[in-house]
């Protein structure tokens, strides 16, 4: 009996002992790099990661003088950007994440080399280099000299690296783009996933060369891109940015977005951080918080090709009349249908027409009704149409990194700066401008074609052309930086309409709606509203600030400065 029990006890003990767990455990649902990069699909998956939207940042339009948001400013426009700003750290960190992943891939790709066809292998390497070059390009354009690495450095070595002069980094960028351009395909078949192309490598190379003032390289790279003959301007400027126009013939490098796959702009609130709602008017239930600035509005030329302060066609009472078609394609014209309602910011337009119901309803886009209607009376239209109102205002326009019109304008700019002003320069600008009018550039009577060959005049024309063609595409800020116009453009206050009571007495009753005067436009194409402000006819919305001693470069994030004694900070007191 006792024996029996002892046997029983011992067997229980044995069971508990034998349930000894294995300690050699591995993550169950994630891979590990120990056995990664071993075949083609692992290489492709690693590359795929680098096409995620996070690695293709754009400067916000709100950093520039094309934008205003009520009386708000941000760290760039109020001049408070510092080495601990999260936007600075995020930009820096994400670029280096991508670079680190490229370097890791390039260091390990040999492991998979045997199983990948030669042509594919060189294409993958080319893609990786294209991505690395683009990341470094973004870094040097914002931060100046940066840490440059091509390998995967040991922690101890990495912690003591110092900044490489941006000229040296630029050479590496060129080398990567050149190598990429050599092996990347010109285009992809309609059943292939579309990744980086030769044209993208050329276009991006042109961009960084232009940003760095290396005009000859910019010219050649843009020329190479144009010579590929695979890109053309999409015929309809207004529709180019619509949700229905995906991956158009003009797109050279785009990051797709998709509501279905959860990558899109939302109306605010999680999980979509980018706010689509602020770009839309209040009548359909959005917020009208992000507005084009009056400076942008006044930069569109008249149909005679002249700036508004020179053109007899400009009427400040009817500011949309006789303007370059991109004006009404970019900014909602008053008394036109927008997002299902008649758009009219007039303070006495208390009702407006609802096209969907055929009824007149309270006009929430008039400051006479709603405090938060657009403070300067205007709203962006570029890309925004009724289709934005479906799917809970989640929208998925392409994130266009570079398009062909930009390449044409880069080519022209490089040549102008090189004083190589020839017909190709005028053609490049005219192609872009003619498309806006819906004609070909050779139909010179149908649009105000550019004919001057004077460098100064052309420079001003080109700069204005870039501003209006590429408005709200995140390029204006870098243009201001590289033209060193930021200290001028970003120290001008932004203006808007007077508050309703004042507006009625000083503007409406006196018949001065919309613009009480024609603003003057200076030699850099920057409109000036001081006169109207001094007369009390417009309202100052926000004071912009830009410290030319330091803010042409962003600060190096303080964490890297504090942990690495060899890291230096950009000058000017960051």
């Amino acid at each position: 009996m006792v024996m029996k029990r002892i046997v029983y006890i011992l067997s229980v003990c044995a069971i508990s002992l034998s349930s000894c767990s294995e300690l050699d455990l591995n993550p169950l649902s994630t891979g590990s790099n120990a056995n990664w990069y071993e075949d083609e699909s692992e290489v492709v998956m690693s590359l795929n990661d680098l096409y995620r939207e996070a690695f293709w940042p754009k400067d916000s339009e709100s950093y520039s003088d094309n934008f205003q948001s009520r009386s708000n400013t941000n760290e760039i426009t109020n001049g408070t950007i510092n080495s601990e700003s999260s936007m600075v750290e995020t930009r820096w960190k994400n670029a280096y994440k991508a670079i680190g992943r490229v370097n890791s891939l390039l260091a390990n790709i040999d492991k998979a080399a045997k199983s990948i066809p030669e042509a594919s292998l060189s294409k993958y390497i080319a893609e990786a280099k294209f991505i690395r070059a683009s990341q470094y390009a973004d870094l040097i354009s914002h931060f100046g000299d940066v840490v440059y690495t091509e390998g995967v450095p040991d922690l101890a070595i990495a912690s003591a690296l110092s900044r490489t002069p941006k000229a040296t980094v630029l050479k590496h960028i060129y080398a990567d783009y050149d190598s990429a351009a050599m092996f990347l395909p010109t285009s992809y078949g309609s059943t292939e996933t579309q990744r980086a192309t030769k044209g993208a490598a050329y276009a991006m190379k042109a961009r960084i060369a232009l940003y760095m003032g290396d005009y000859a390289v910019a010219r050649d790279a843009a020329q190479n891109c144009m010579d590929l003959k695979v890109y053309q301007l999409y015929p309809d400027f207004a529709k180019l940015f619509a949700l229905t126009t995906k991956n158009s013939v003009e797109s050279i490098f785009v990051i797709p977005r998709s509501v279905e796959f959860g990558s899109c702009l939302g109306k605010g609130g999680s999980p979509y951080l980018d706010n689509a709602g602020d770009w839309m008017t209040r009548n359909p239930g959005c917020y009208a918080g992000n507005n084009p600035s009056w400076e942008l509005f006044c930069s569109f030329l008249c149909t005679d090709g002249l700036p508004i302060d020179e053109s007899p066609l400009f009427n400040p009472r009817e500011p949309f009349k006789n303007r370059d078609p991109r004006c009404t394609a970019t900014i909602v014209e008053f008394q036109t249908r927008h997002l299902g309602y008649m758009y009219q910011p007039h303070p006495d337009s208390l009702k407006c027409y609802n096209f969907n119901t055929g009824k007149y309803v309270t006009n929430n886009d008039s400051r006479g009704v709603n405090q938060y209607a657009s403070y300067d009376g205007i709203m962006f239209k570029k890309g925004i149409d009724d289709s934005w109102l479906t799917s809970g205002n989640k929208v998925d326009p392409d994130k266009i990194i570079v398009r062909y019109a930009d390449v044409l304008l880069m080519y022209a700019e490089a040549k102008i700066e090189l004083k190589e002003i020839d017909q190709t320069v005028l053609d490049a600008i005219n192609k872009v401008r003619a498309r806006a009018y819906g004609v070909t550039y050779t139909q010179t009577s149908a649009y105000p074609s550019v004919t001057t060959t004077d460098q100064t005049a052309l420079r001003k024309i080109l700069r204005t052309e870039r501003r209006v063609e590429l408005a709200n595409e995140g390029l204006r800020y870098m243009d201001l930086i590289r033209w060193r116009l930021a200290e001028k453009a970003l120290t001008k206050p932004s203006y808007g309409m007077l508050d309703p009571a004042d507006l009625r007495t000083k503007i409406i009753k006196t018949g001065l709606w919309f613009f009480p005067e024609v603003p003057s436009i200076d030699e850099d194409g920057l409109p000036d509203f001081t006169s109207m402000y001094n007369k009390g006819l417009i309202k100052l919305l926000a004071i912009r600030s830009f410290d030319a001693n330091k803010e042409y470069l962003w600060p190096i994030p303080s964490k890297d400065i504090l942990i690495n004694p060899n890291m230096t900070q950009n000058p000017g007191g960051y």
Binding site: L23, N48, S71, T362, S391, I561
Partner: protein, 1101 residues
């Protein structure tokens, strides 16, 4: 000789004692010698007779008894003889009735006697002292003592460790037998230590023990909250007091940068946390504070161990207990925000400051609107709203209730304690509640002398209901000038769709359920006395589910309730997402224990093996754009917008451990532990860690020079050294795990999603155990017959190879990896003092504890940045890190001539000191180089205590807790204006009138406590600096309970054993320097700290 023999027999009869209290005696003796009768009684009871040769046992007697009780038998037996008897323990001492007292008759003043414990067992080693002198003796192995010369006027004092001392006047007695009772004294409390128990008196390490009734009396639903202020060296902090929320526990501060949660062991098995157990089920809790106590749990014990023992039935007990509580929770306070008019004035002032609208002082809100707002609001509340967001959302109080039924019973072989509990606490706003069911069944089974078993089962189910959008942050920051509800009753737009009331009231729910069931089976095999072999298996299963149903919330035009204006932000579409977690873990143990006493040596040795394996699997599924909002089920959503996800992890430990405890004569105590652990989290060559510890105790009060001291009842010195490990850094940091995501590409003009992979972390393969070495010195001293008790501890801990997530250069492109890099040191001390006594019927006790620690970082091989805090060599753990302020700029001249953060700085902004620059010298600008350490952020001088009173049927207790010193900061929620996404939020009322303003006189501005109202200035003003620091010390009355027990005479008529009624208040008074509306434990937009008022009744049948 005979006496000796009897003693031996007596001693032997103790072994194998059975409770014979109830045994009945049958005698039928006719003219037989008394000796045979005595033998018969000895056979039928467990008593033995003691007598000497003055007793004639050969005299013949006659007696006949049927089922007689022992006293009645003895009375009738000796009644007619010249013998009298006396029961001493299990002995019946026989004496001649006529014998005069020895001292008188002999005149030699001899006295002797036997000292037994309350079970009648002789007690060796009892000191018998003559009061007021230094002479005395000690009882021998048989518990007997004698004095040869003693005056009848003397008084003998009997003292024995852990028992109440007794004083007996000698008088004319020649034999004084004393029965010593164990005092109800913490020294006799059995304290759980790792894999065993020990009497507190035998402890050598530092262990804090709390009895279960103290936990239950705090009337909290969570055990963690009840521990606040209860144990010296245990820091318990809350952030808000939402229904069902627990608290963070730190044992002796922080020892590592990583995980600092103590290991929780419930009934010997590792548990997920203290929320697994209902406070009413707790028998006692031990907190193992020093390395010597905790190192038996080596691997995971670096942050301390909390051992919870749940209630088991006691033998001979049969009862049913029902407890119920009803109560309510009232928020302590909520911060005030600016009124509608003040908000508009603030906004105008900010805009005026930032945009310089010349002389227009009304750049945003026109003068006529501001001046006539009340009238305008009355005329058109839709256009000129005045919304009380907090009032709309928050209720004045929330009800709570709790019920607990427990049944306890035992038979000869089985003891069972079963309990079932239910708790429900409602939230202070709708759609918020917490419910919990808990079941616990503990069975102890004795199979035979060698074999016993324990089968435990426990289950807990909690249900947490929350609104889909938590309203607190937005409720506190939304300005009153936005409408929540239109005059026509429909939901209003709020601020651009941010109508938190609408989102909260109509936006759906976020519910979660946690179900945990666990069991423990153990078999104890005792092949011979003192040796026990236990095999334990304890599985635990957890099933969680959550359901987030985020509904679309449309709002309509104020003038036309049919005109859809849009949807509230975050509620554009109706989406459902559900998750399921399936987790299980199994702990198995094999433990051998051997205890043996040889003379004055007593030895206890334990060796064990433990195995742990845990597995976690997650499943998630969702659909979006539901057409219907009444069906929160996946089936009802559209097929196109579905998503799902899943993942799994596992980890395992294997451990070998052993302990030897040695005790010499209750004076010298030694203990040694060792544990060897292997963790699956490390690479196989770095996987094992060994953690030894030693501790010793010296009971000075047992030494001759103190033994006779009447003032000192007990004095012990303790010292320990040991090491502990930590590996809680997530799974497999030595491997560079890949993270899988998706990237989008075009195929033609179709978007496709392709899987992507990336290594996110920089892996360090040889990462291994972090080790904390600790020293502890302790003293336990009891005075005045244990009425006054003092414990003091000093400790030093140093952690090396600390597992750190160090900042690596961001340009490396990896997330910061864990590495064995840092060192840190923590020094601290703890004291506690208790007094309890009784004055007639009034019992009272006062107990206070005070502790402190300071953690300083050693060489970390780097720095860890935590926003406003930092960990770097020489800093305290999470020390505040920021600028040193120099007041507020008063003039433009001052601004122009000072180093500043940017050119946008203006008068009214905070001025900072230029400490350094890129070259280590002031560089004329304020940048990251000028940040310095600003002082520790952790609380110092934490204290707590209780006061208890009982008088007849009434009892009262009061518990308090506090922090003596803390560097706290004014958080953004407290002082920053316009705090909300897009800076449209309200302005805290507490800055009103105290900020720098152009409207102020220069003198007022000199006294300004807060900077100017500005949005541009925020980057300068609301960064971390000493400007925002203040003294955060506080004292809080945690709990006050009045109880009344109905008189026995009343309840016994109802066949009830007892009824107790009580009323408690929790968190009802706080004294601190926190600004009005804020609380030391609620410094942000969290659920408020609440005062609870609870009525309780408990009935015992």
């Amino acid at each position: 000789m005979r006496k000796k023999l009897v003693f031996i027999i007596a001693f032997l009869s103790i072994i194998g004692t059975i409770n014979a209290q109830t045994s009945k005696i049958n005698l039928a003796i006719k003219n037989a010698p008394l000796s045979s009768c005595l033998s018969a009684i000895e056979r039928q009871s467990d008593y033995t007779f003691m007598y000497d040769n003055t007793i004639d046992v050969n005299q013949n007697i006659t007696i006949s008894v049927k089922n007689g009780s022992l006293p009645s038998v003895l009375t009738s037996l000796f009644g007619k003889t010249s013998i009298r008897y006396e029961i001493v323990g299990k002995h019946i001492v026989l004496k001649p009735k006529s014998l005069p007292s020895e001292s008188q008759s002999r005149g030699d003043n001899r006295i002797s006697g036997v000292v037994t414990d309350d079970q009648g067992q002789p007690l060796p080693g009892v000191s018998v002292l003559i009061m007021g002198s230094t002479s005395g003796t000690t009882t021998d192995m048989n518990g007997s003592y004698s004095f040869s010369k003693i005056s009848p006027n003397e008084t003998l004092v009997f003292k024995f460790l852990g028992m109440g001392s007794q004083e007996v006047k000698v008088g004319n007695q020649s034999q004084i037998n004393v029965r010593m009772a164990e005092t109800v004294n913490e020294l006799n409390e059995v304290v759980a230590i790792g894999y065993g128990t020990v009497k507190k008196v035998d402890l050598t390490g530092s262990v804090g023990a709390i009895q279960g009734d103290m936990i239950a009396n705090r009337k909290t639903t969570q055990v963690s909250q009840a521990l606040q202020g209860a144990v010296a060296g245990v820091m318990v902090t809350r952030s808000g007091n939402a229904p069902g929320s627990g608290a963070t526990i730190r044992v002796r501060g922080v020892t590592t940068i990583g995980e600092n949660n103590p290991l929780v062991i419930i009934d010997g098995v590792p548990a997920a946390g203290l929320s697994d157990v209902n406070p009413n089920d707790v028998e006692n809790i031990s907190v193992l504070k020093d390395a010597a106590s905790a190192s038996i749990y080596g691997s995971r014990a670096a942050a301390g161990v909390i051992l919870v023992t749940t209630k088991h039935a006691k033998s001979g007990e049969l009862s049913i207990n029902y407890n119920m509580e009803y109560g309510m929770e009232k928020p302590i306070q909520t911060p005030a925000t600016a009124s509608a008019v003040r908000f508009m004035q603030f906004a105008n002032e900010a805009s005026w400051n930032d945009s310089g609208n010349n002389s227009n002082e009304y750049p945003l809100y026109a003068k006529d609107v501001v001046d006539n707002y009340a009238t305008l609001n009355a005329e058109d509340p839709d256009k000129y709203p005045d919304t009380d967001w907090i009032g709309l959302i928050m209720k004045d109080y929330a009800p709570r209730e709790s019920h607990q039924l427990s049944i306890s019973g035992s038979t000869k072989n089985v003891r069972t304690n079963a309990s079932i509990g239910y708790d429900k606490t409602d939230g202070l706003f709708d759609n918020k509640s917490y419910e919990r069911y808990s079941v616990r069944l503990n069975n102890d089974i004795t199979i035979n002398k060698m074999l016993s078993a324990t089968i435990n089962f426990n289950g807990i189910n909690t249900y947490n209901n929350n609104p889909a959008t938590d309203p607190i942050y937005q409720m506190l920051t939304s300005p009153p000038i936005y409408a929540a509800i239109w005059a026509n009753g429909g939901l209003a737009e709020g601020k651009s769709g941010d109508n938190i009331y609408g989102k909260f009231v109509a936006g759906g729910f976020n519910k979660s359920w946690v179900t945990r069931v666990g069991g423990k089976a153990s078999i104890d095999f005792t092949p011979f006395s003192g040796f026990k072999l236990s095999a334990v298996i304890a599985p635990s299963l957890e099933f969680d589910k959550s359901k987030l149903f985020n509904k679309a919330v449309p709002y309509y035009a104020s003038e036309d309730a049919t005109r859809l204006m849009g949807y509230l932000s975050g509620h554009f579409t109706t989406a459902l997402s559900e998750t399921r977690n399936d987790n299980y873990n199994v702990t198995s143990q094999l433990i051998a224990n051997y205890a043996k006493t040889f003379g004055k040596h007593s030895l206890n040795a334990m060796a064990g093996y433990e195995n742990y394996h845990a597995f976690y699997e997650y499943l998630g599924a969702s659909r979006d754009e539901y057409l219907l909002t009444a069906y929160p089920y996946l089936d009802m959503g559209p097929l196109t917008l579905r998503d799902n996800s899943g993942s799994a992890t596992e980890n395992a430990y294997r451990s070998y451990f052993g302990r030897i405890m040695y005790n010499y004569d209750n004076k010298y105590l030694l203990q040694a532990n060792i544990r060897r652990d292997g963790s699956s989290r490390f690479y196989k060559d770095c996987r094992w860690g060994t953690f030894p510890s030693f501790s010793a105790g010296w009971v000075l009060s047992e030494e001759p020079f103190l033994k006779d001291n009447a003032a000192i009842s007990y004095l012990k010195l303790r010292a320990s050294w040991g090491t502990l490990g930590n590996e809680r850094i997530g799974n497999y940091p030595y491997q560079a795990n890949l993270s899988f995501l998706n990237a989008l590409f075009y195929q033609g003009t179709t978007v496709v999603s392709e899987q992507s992979a990336a290594q996110i972390q920089y892996a360090i393969q040889n990462i291994s155990w972090e080790t904390t070495e600790s020293y502890n010195l302790g003293v336990d001293a009891n005075f005045l017959n244990n009425k006054l008790r003092f414990t003091g501890e000093y400790y030093k801990k140093s952690t090396r190879d600390m597992l750190l997530t160090l900042q690596i250069p961001e340009y490396m492109g990896f997330d910061n990896p864990s590495q064995n890099a840092g060192k840190m040191r923590t020094n601290g001390w703890e004291t506690s003092l208790t007094w309890n006594d009784k004055i007639n019927d009034l019992g009272y006790s006062i107990s206070v504890n005070l502790s402190d620690f300071k953690s300083v970082m050693g060489d970390l091989k780097g720095t860890q940045f935590l926003g406003d805090q930092i960990k770097t060599e020489g800093s305290e753990y999470n020390e505040w890190y920021g600028y040193q302020s120099d007041g507020i700029y008063q003039t433009q001249e001052d601004v122009a001539n000072s180093p500043k953060t940017s050119t946008s700085v203006k008068p009214g902004d905070i001025k900072y000191k230029d400490i350094s620059g890129p070259d280590g010298v002031p560089d004329g600008t304020i940048s990251a180089y000028d940040k310095t350490l600003l002082g520790g952020s952790l609380p110092r001088y934490m204290y707590g205590g209780t006061i208890g009173l009982d008088y007849k049927a009434f009892d009262f207790s009061l518990a308090f807790q506090g922090v003596g010193k803390q560097n706290s900061i004014y958080t953004a929620e407290m002082v920053e204006p316009f705090l909300n996404t897009g800076q449209w939020g309200n302005v805290p009322a507490l800055i009103d009138g105290k900020y720098w303003s152009k409207y102020n006189t220069d003198e007022q501005n000199l006294k300004a406590k807060y900077p100017r109202i500005s949005k541009t200035g925020n980057t300068n003003n609301y960064v971390m600096s000493d400007f925002w620091m203040f003294d955060g010390s506080y004292l809080r009355l945690k709990n006050m309970t009045f109880g009344y027990s109905l008189p026995k005479s009343v309840v016994s008529k109802l066949n009830i054993q007892g009824i107790r009624l009580s009323f408690s208040m929790n968190d009802f008074l706080t004294i601190s320097k926190y600004p009005k509306g804020w609380d030391p434990e609620n410094t942000g937009a969290n659920y408020p700290i609440t005062t609870s008022y609870v009525f309780g009744a408990s009935i015992k049948f």
